[in-house]
Symmetry: D2
């Protein structure tokens, strides 16, 4: 399946400001790109490209005053298969986890693991370990939290979500991630494209957030917001939580003036 | 100057539990060790040693039920010089910072950078950039926060410290780190040994926390708790905040039963 | 000046639910009413009317399932004068305050006085006491907090407002109230009608929140959101903060389906 | 049963400061006093005595610089009966509650009812209404929260207690009060003397906190900390939470230097 990916994001910049963008397809998926995946910046500015400690591809530049436009269009060859489901995937004891996964058991800005240990134990301590436990967590979050764009707040933490029971997609994932970590299951935040392939269209296209957990021998995608296997989830970045993988981070004042994202099937499919 | 380092930490373990210890001198300082720096575990258990993503040396093991003892004694050859002071060290604009320092501008568990931008700007926006700004931050924290062991709480964040104006050494550093990051100065949390060499003894020996900022071309040590250059600061670990570099992290229930730390000058000095 | 007052508020009620409405003009202002000020409930239900401990007129009833409509229209004879301004109004020392004002020095749900003592002291400790200090507080809040309906949250506290610097009118008042109390000036939350008489119209009509402080020998109205004397501020209720004086409180599930408020000048004026 | 009551509380006062003390037996219990219940202040200062809006007896005065001593000794004739238990006491629907109890359904400083509605519903929605529900709440808090003086913090809220699961007696009550209010059961905070009559002595004598709920036709005492009927609970003050009924409130800087409370049985009993 071919998926056309792209975005057009515009800012008003009052004074020169350094920015970092995480707007590329994740390095682990670049083999499926059929066209270049190149961040276009208008006006053109020098860009410093680097990988952060999580392995994401980052672009750093100084935005000049005035209108700034970040855009791109590329073509991705997707398997067309929904998210993998493996109910027998085993939960590893902490001592068997690969060392690089241990970071994803710790507390982070929006995932206050240290404040949720008893709460999570009370809710999920009796669920079957492994995949069923992660699924129980997603089911709980999905059915207890109400989605709404007006519930969005940049400072909203898992504790806020647990208490107020409202949020946008990142909030659902933060709460689920926190529960997983409390149960000693490594969980990390993921962002990327997620088109409406195979599902009724209900919302304007946006980037999406989901999360990954480490079971058996690999990371698996889960999504407490949608809570169903989806087709066409294309990873851009992973991190401890949304603080690590903002699509754009501005080290000074910027005003978002427009925002469009594209992720839709194109006519001719060619499995990657 | 020779400094004798060591610790004796004991836990009561009700059931087998995975633990991670960050109890070694930091890899960057191992050249100064005159004796092996080996974590002794009693009863003996298999240990998995690895470096985390921050470069710290970590020991992972499963503690069996009963009394667990972690201890060590080693000898460190220190320069005997106080913390470096360089008032002309330049603050780099974000676009010139080494990529690996950018992580230390972001929000983390105990450092809610996203909630402090206006507060920090109001307090330190008019201070001279670079070293004087970091010093102004340390001065503010040092003179506005009251130290006391009974103010310690494992969930205390920079916002709690800013509001309640009380804390232990980690709290002082969390608030100062947060302020630095808001001002676009990379700041990371540091833990290690800090004996009472050259200062009046006021408190029982403990591990200590301080922080490092990136100015000019390197990381520099600052300490908002003590707020004076100190001799014999021996690094064990750095991370985004205390969540990353707990001396021991238990993935289940443990009870700390005794705790002793040693960091004192030995007779014969031999500069490293 | 004659001011037409009224509202039409509708709810969808899934199951019978007890509600309390504070939708009358405040008892201290009823002498200026030229028409009955009677809450109309559709469908009609028995209403228990009482005064709460703050002296507000409250209506309690059980809403039946289905559509619930609360409406009213009345006519108020206003002085047509803007809020009183008295820069020489003296700040009373705590020992001279009337006992009934002391409650309004204490912390309440959305006004964490206990967490703001040092912050308020740092910001306003050097301002001249009395009226100028309250005005300095309003000026600070007015110029440091950004208004926006999408910043509204039912759980937002003064600390959230101070940190995030965003909010709706109630949030501005909560922060200003908290600062006043920290400076030992009694401050209470006020709600009521505030039309756009004498000001450019910028927003749809709503109930409004402001606050009152006790100086010299009486309560005075201040408004950190608008921060200018206004005509036609007609009090409905006062309390410690928004938790005490919600226009409607539902003790179970209700869904607000429409909301209209009127407060506009009528042709023939007759000073009260 | 005769109970000797008293206290000796001393402060160091750096500069004149207004204080309010709630250190008398509650007006509802004064008929049982066999000796005067008179706050003694050293050095002597003029005292303004008044009742606050909750009906508590308050003493306001200006403390001069130097050592301040507040003390008292009185004799109370107690029934000698443990707290009343009435498992059939009915939970009133909100529409039948006396108006003056409705305030105790609302959120307050340390009881964030607005943030606990879903949490409380999840934990107690299936418990039998009335007395069994309040008992279920006490049982939950009693068995899930760990007591320790070093867990005390003046800014700790019910949410903090729920998350961290630690606290002193006021924290236990704040969490239980919040749960009750979420279930539409009026609950208020109570402070007073509680000796160790009939129980093993484990802690130094202190004032105690408990809470009261309104069931059937009156207020009943519950105590989520001790969670058992006790003899000799002598009320001093009630309010929405600890913010309303601090034993002493200082409107400026004071340092507590010593603190002793007495509440013990005297030889000759004479039922009140």
């Amino acid at each position: 399946m071919l998926i056309r990916l792209g975005y057009d994001i515009q800012f008003d910049i009052p004074a020169p400001v350094a920015m970092v963008a995480l707007l590329n397809v994740h390095p682990s998926r670049t083999a499926c790109l059929l066209e270049p995946d190149q961040l276009q910046i208008t006006p053109p500015v020098p860009v410093n490209v680097y990988h952060d400690t999580f392995g994401n591809l980052c672009s750093r530049f100084v935005a000049p005053p005035g209108r700034l436009r970040l855009c791109n269009s590329t073509l991705f060859s997707d398997s067309g298969l929904p998210d993998a489901v493996s109910p027998t995937a085993r939960e590893l004891p902490v001592e068997e986890l690969p060392p690089e996964t241990l970071l994803f058991l710790l507390a982070s800005r929006y995932c206050e693991v240290d404040r949720f240990l008893d709460i999570a134990g009370g809710l999920f301590g009796n669920s079957a370990p492994g995949w069923p436990r992660v699924q129980a967590i997603c089911d709980w979050v999905h059915s207890n939290v109400t989605f709404g764009y007006h519930f969005a707040s940049p400072t909203k933490t898992a504790m806020d979500v647990y208490s107020d029971r409202t949020g946008v997609c990142r909030d659902f994932q933060h709460l689920a991630i926190t529960f997983c970590r409390c149960m000693n299951i490594p969980a990390r935040y993921a962002t990327g494209y997620l088109g409406d392939i195979g599902v009724p269209v209900v919302l304007p296209m946006d980037f999406s957030a989901w999360f990954e957990v480490y079971l058996e021998d690999r990371w698996w995608s889960f999504d407490a917001r949608n809570n169903m296997p989806r087709i066409g989830r294309i990873l851009m970045a992973t991190g401890r939580d949304a603080a690590d993988v903002a699509m754009t981070t501005s080290f000074g004042t910027t005003f978002l003036s427009s925002f469009h994202v594209v992720a839709e099937e194109e006519a001719v499919a060619s499995p990657c």
